[in-house]
């Protein structure tokens, strides 16, 4: 009954290849639901930016372009190191896998750190929607709406980053325990898919929120 060595192949799959394909496809299906989730936020934003162009432009100009750009580079770099982590797992290089997972996690935390600095600035500048919101403009209400979108969209994105950081930590523990080899690295691969997706969300968030009105 009790197996001495836990096999990564679960009994309801015919082969390791089939198990891998099923896991991979399962993560893609989840990511499609995530596209629709963030897609709803983007659709709502597009509707309002169309009708309240001026207020949204004034709000967008109060975002810190330098911090936003640096964060974009940090996240793109973390995607590169995540891809390298998956590659290391494919080759069965455990030391490299641990290193790249660690660098990816560190870059993810840097992103969240910079994001928290931006949030702190917004609180100090009274740009957080609610009773404390202060903005001197005839379209101040629309500016407040812009910041509602800003905090909802970047907040949901940051929450996904926190989940991703947890998954990376879990992968690092698994690597240290020798769970992964060139024969079995599915958790690394599917976490990679998730991490890259969160990167893609930011690729769209950055121009949508930070760059929408720079030329005006």
């Amino acid at each position: 009954m009790a197996e001495t060595v836990e096999s990564p192949l679960q009994h309801h799959f015919a082969s390791a290849e089939q198990q891998y394909e099923a896991s991979n496809l399962g993560m893609w299906a989840f990511l499609v639901t995530e596209i629709m989730f963030f897609g709803g936020l983007f659709a709502a934003f597009i509707v309002y930016v169309t009708f309240y162009a001026q207020g949204f432009a004034e709000g967008s100009k109060h975002l810190d372009l330098t911090l936003g750009s640096v964060n974009t580079l940090v996240l793109l770099a973390s995607s590169l190191t995540m891809a390298m982590a998956v590659r290391s797992a494919q080759l069965g290089r455990r030391g490299l896998l641990l290193l790249f997972l660690g660098v990816t996690l560190a870059l993810g935390l840097v992103f969240l750190g910079i994001k928290s600095v931006e949030y702190t600035h917004k609180f100090h500048q009274h740009l957080v929607p609610g009773p404390g919101f202060r903005f001197d403009s005839p379209v101040a209400q629309k500016v407040q709406l812009f910041f509602s979108f800003y905090f909802a969209m970047t907040g949901m994105h940051a929450l996904h980053m926190v989940v991703g950081a947890g998954l990376l930590t879990w992968l690092m523990v698994g690597t240290l325990r020798g769970r992964f080899s060139s024969e079995y690295f599915t958790p690394v691969e599917v976490t990679g898919l998730y991490w890259h997706f969160v990167d893609i969300v930011w690729i769209f968030l950055f121009p949508t929120l930070y760059l929408v009105a720079r030329h005006q």
Binding site: Y20, V47, R87, H196, F206, P207, L211, H215
Partner: protein, 106 residues
């Protein structure tokens, strides 16, 4: 198992392209590309660059280029349904003012 192992060179090239496109989109955002009249040109340029960047990530970092047909169907379905969501939503809101009504904009 047979998995495509992507050369490091490809990953680095994709990363370099992503950095360049980021610089390009920031740079382009400072110029009024529509010449003061066509206000949507900047948005179209920014969106085109973002879609290009996302495509690079999906094809190479997420291995879709080397993926199975089912994976292509899933990824394609995601993009297609997103397009339905955005197109039909905007078709509604943008066409509302075409007909005179007391319910909208009055």
């Amino acid at each position: 198992m047979t998995h495509h192992i992507v050369p490091v060179r490809i990953y680095l090239l994709v990363f370099a392209a992503l950095i360049l496109l980021t610089a390009l989109t920031v740079l382009a955002s400072f110029y009024d590309l529509g010449g003061g009249r066509l206000h949507y040109v900047n948005a179209v340029v920014a969106l085109t660059i973002a879609v290009t960047k996302a495509t690079l990530v999906v094809l190479f970092f997420m291995h879709l280029r080397y993926g199975s047909r089912q994976t292509w169907v899933f990824a394609g379905a995601g993009a297609f349904w997103l397009l339905i969501l955005l197109t039909l939503t905007m078709a509604d809101y943008l066409s509302r003012s075409w007909l005179p009504t007391t319910l909208w904009g009055g």
